[in-house]
């Protein structure tokens, strides 16, 4: 009797399991995508989902059985929180856009799937098609966790009107700290309240001097490094030109400041063309590369929007296909120029002269140079706090080597806690 009952129970379980499996197999696969609304690059953006929609349409041509869904209307500022909440609840999307500052947390906490396997086995994928710094932005601890979707380097904004009024020619893209300092010194006039530069800190100067504040894995700080110290001294010498006055954003908007570090996306959104938005109406302006330090080159800091696949996703293969489309497909990537303001991480798209409707100062060769040499600032769990510690140490001690060494040791202790 007992045995018969056991067999009946086993059969029931098997039947139920089989039924569930059958239903599951018949059901149409649904791929979910996490995406933010608007632009991450501080520029207005009307059709923020256009690129994604087009990519999904392309994807569904190849994979007719798969439905792709995304939640629209999550503002960029809330996107990190939204994604973290979905991860905590275990309902994160299969494929998600990853903001540059979130990448290290998501990759190190194990939320993202490793992509090296897909990259190696997918014949259609070519890692060499990307600019190396863009691809490296999705790499942590020697493993690839995300693909680049869009990159934005930092460049230097120049007030052409102010320079012309002083008879100074526009600096070329090979200029150095010396040229930069020289122009600033000539522009600065405390009586007429004109200044050399706004918002240029030692952190902006770092990369152009071949330095980095933190090691890539975020376990060491190089505050006392000579190249970092040179950047600190250089930034201080520029501030000293202002005779104690603190330059404000208002001074800049009024056209009294010659230089300001600028995101490439802002440059493209507001670039001085009649059919574009004109933000700065009182003066003529343009952009150039960042000035090179004595130990470095005209290197920019790079920010890259990334695409990651959830480590717990049940559709990782499909997610990879869509990610590859969004990241590496020429047609999808070239839409970045129409619907966004960044630079494609794919070389042949970024350097395609037909799409590149930029003024003469940024020819394809320059784009290639900026993108190939740009540096992504290491972002890790404690980087914000460590950066604040470094800033306050610099603010207090300036360039005293002894104090810097002490501060560096303190930050190192904090990083390795």
């Amino acid at each position: 009797m007992k045995r018969r009952l056991g067999i009946a129970a086993l059969a029931a379980v098997l039947l139920a399991g089989g039924l569930l499996w059958g239903l599951e197999a018949r059901r149409e696969s649904v791929l979910t995508v996490g995406v933010y609304a608007g632009s991450y690059w501080q520029t207005p953006n009307g059709d923020c989902y256009q690129i994604l929609d087009d990519a999904i349409a392309l994807f569904q041509e190849r994979r007719p059985g798969v439905r792709v869904e995304y939640v629209s209307g999550i503002p960029t500022d809330d996107y990190s929180e939204w994604l973290a909440g979905r991860i905590l609840k275990g309902t994160e999307p299969d494929l998600c856009f990853i903001l540059p500052e979130d990448f290290n947390l998501l990759a190190s906490s194990g939320a993202l799937a490793e992509l090296d396997g897909f990259m190696a086995s997918d014949a259609e994928f070519d890692a060499g098609a990307y600019y190396e710094p863009c691809l490296r932005a999705g790499r942590l601890g020697g493993k690839q966790y995300a693909l680049p979707q869009e990159s934005v380097p930092t460049i230097m904004f120049v007030n052409k009107t102010l320079l012309e009024s002083r008879g100074i020619p526009l600096p070329d893209n090979r200029w150095t700290w010396e040229d930069f300092y020289d122009i600033c010194a000539r522009v600065t006039d405390l009586d007429s309240r004109t200044f050399g530069v706004y918002d240029y800190t030692w952190q902006n100067a770092l990369y152009a001097n071949g330095a980095s504040l933190f090691s890539e894995d975020g376990t060491a700080c190089c505050l006392a490094d000579e190249r970092v110290q040179a950047a600190v001294r250089f930034a201080k010498s520029l501030t000293d030109l202002n005779g104690g006055y603190t330059v404000t954003a208002r001074d800049f908007d009024l056209g009294r400041v010659a230089f300001r570090p600028f995101l490439f996306s802002e440059y493209r959104a507001y670039q001085p063309y009649p059919w574009r938005v004109r933000k700065y109406s009182g003066f003529e302006w343009d952009c150039v590369c960042m000035p090179a330090g004595p130990d470095g080159d005209n290197v920019s800091e790079l920010r890259t929007m990334l695409l990651g696949i959830s480590a717990r996703s049940g559709h990782r293969e499909l997610a990879w296909e869509l990610a590859r489309l969004l990241s590496a497909d020429d047609a999808v990537q070239s839409e970045l120029y129409a619907y966004s303001h960044g630079i494609s991480p794919v070389r042949r798209v970024a350097e395609n002269a037909r799409d590149l409707d930029l003024p003469g100062s940024f020819p394809a060769e320059l784009i290639r140079e900026i993108m190939s040499t740009a540096v992504t600032a290491p972002r890790f769990e404690r980087s914000d706090q460590a950066m604040m510690m470094a800033e306050s140490a610099v603010a207090e001690a300036g360039d005293q080597e002894q104090r810097m060494l002490i501060a560096q040791r303190e930050i190192n202790v904090f990083l390795n806690q």
């Binding site: 990190s80 973290a84 909440g85 905590l88 609840k89 947390l105 906490s109 194990g110 939320a111």
Partner: protein
């Protein structure tokens, strides 16, 4: 029995408490996760934890599911009463694996289920090797389960990350509840272990007591058996004595009457008297044959076909083989060839002395000396046993020995060896002296 009942209700209480603890952890993690998400704290939670937690529904589902399965196995095994060794081992392994599963589903925040399973299995496993293995495994699980320093290595979020979401008061309330529940579980475990071991101790001493009583009963039974044998022997001997008396009495009466008649007729009719005396002689001869036959029935089997010398040696070696006592036999009495009744008596005396030494004196060494001076044979038996106590009483065996010896004109002395001046050792001695009759009768 009462102990057993308390133990089983303690075990039930432990199962209920562990259920409560699992519900506590699951609910706390689930609600905290949902609250964190609702209050826009997910990003900071994730960055301070540094690891992604499992989906919040998984902990209650898996932990409770496996725990209920564990309860079912535990109660089922006691109800079905499995006896096969392999099946019992399998049940234990299943319980331990389920316990590990529950603990892992709870992200190792709570490993007290190991104590529950340990209390459940410790008296279920009979093989001591497996018991030690299981105990070690479960204690390891219990001790290292919540070792927070290992959490980053295994990619888990420590429980404190969930508690950190709350303010100080709520946090201490939850932490206090947690440690209270854990302590209660440990307390119940210790209590059930104490009960188990005291119960086992009482059981052991009860078994020891019963064993002692059984031994005593066995001893008495053996004594009764000896007594019974002796009584049967006495009865048989009495029967034979009666028979001898009847035949011998009859014959002797006939002889007396015949010889009286012969005496009366001796002068008047010498021929008739001669005839009568011939009849008497024949009757006497027949009587003697009868007596011989009767006596033969009394002889020990050992003496039936062998000499006394061989019979004694065989008996002593048999005795040494069947008891643990060492017997030193020293025969210096020359050839041991005597009349049948004397041989029988000597055989019985030696046998009885050795038996007494072992049975009553618990001796481990027995010395037997046989000596002969002229016609006086002496047997000196000494043992190293307990002796006969303060005043030595003559028991059944010794009385019998004396009666037999006195029938043959011999004597028996016995007592504690301490009372002998030349000896003084511990133990018992028996001294027998028997005058040997002249040998011509034998012929």
């Amino acid at each position: 029995m009462d102990n057993e009942k308390t133990l089983s209700s303690l075990s039930r209480l432990m199962f209920v408490l562990n259920l409560a603890i699992i519900v506590f952890y699951s609910l706390l993690c689930l609600t905290t996760t949902l609250r964190v998400c609702d209050s826009f704290g997910a990003y900071s939670f994730l960055s301070s934890a540094g690891q992604i937690p499992p989906p919040p529904w998984r902990m209650p589902l898996w932990a409770l599911g496996q725990y209920l399965l564990l309860c079912a196995v535990s109660f089922g095994k006691n109800r079905w009463g499995i006896e096969r060794f392999e099946a019992r081992l399998l049940v234990c392994l299943v319980e331990i694996l389920l316990c590990l599963g529950v603990t892992a589903s709870l992200e190792f925040y709570y490993s007290g289920a190991a104590l529950l399973v340990l209390a459940d299995l410790v008296h279920y496993v009979r093989n001591s090797f497996y018991r030690i293995c299981f105990t070690a495994a479960l204690i390891l699980l219990f001790s290292f389960g919540r070792y927070e320093i290992l959490y980053p290595l295994t990619g888990r979020i420590p429980f404190s990350a969930y508690l950190d979401y709350y303010n100080q008061t709520v946090r201490s309330f939850f932490a206090g509840t947690e440690s209270l529940l854990i302590c209660l579980n440990v307390l119940l475990f210790v209590l059930s272990m104490i009960l188990l071991f005291t119960g086992q101790k009482a059981e052991n001493s009860r078994i020891r007591k019963l064993n002692k009583q059984l031994n005593q009963a066995n001893e008495r039974l053996r004594d009764y058996a000896f007594e019974l044998e002796r009584m049967a022997e006495v009865r048989e001997r009495n029967r034979l004595a009666r028979e001898i008396h009847d035949t011998l009495g009859h014959t002797l009466t006939g002889i007396i009457m015949g010889s009286d008649a012969g005496l009366a007729l001796f002068d008047a009719a010498p021929e008739e008297a001669k005839k009568r005396i011939q009849v008497v002689a024949q009757a006497a001869r027949d009587g003697l044959n009868d007596v011989r036959r009767s006596i033969k029935a009394l002889r020990p089997d050992a003496l039936e076909n062998t000499t006394l010398e061989e019979a004694l040696e065989t008996m002593i070696s048999n005795f040494k083989a069947t008891t643990s006592a060492e017997v030193f036999y020293d025969q210096q009495a020359g050839p041991l060839v005597f009349a049948q009744d004397e041989e029988d008596t000597l055989y019985r005396v030696v046998q009885e002395s050795m038996t007494n030494a072992v049975r009553h004196g618990h001796a481990t060494e027995i010395h037997i000396f046989l000596t002969r001076r002229d016609n006086l044979l002496t047997i000196d038996v000494r043992d190293n046993g307990l002796g006969g106590g303060e005043d030595v009483k003559e028991g059944f065996g010794l009385r019998h020995m004396r009666e037999r010896l006195e029938l043959l004109g011999g004597s028996l002395t016995f007592g504690n060896r301490e009372t002998l001046e030349e000896d003084g050792e511990r133990g018992f001695y028996i001294l027998v002296s028997l005058p040997i009759r002249e040998k011509e009768e034998e012929a």
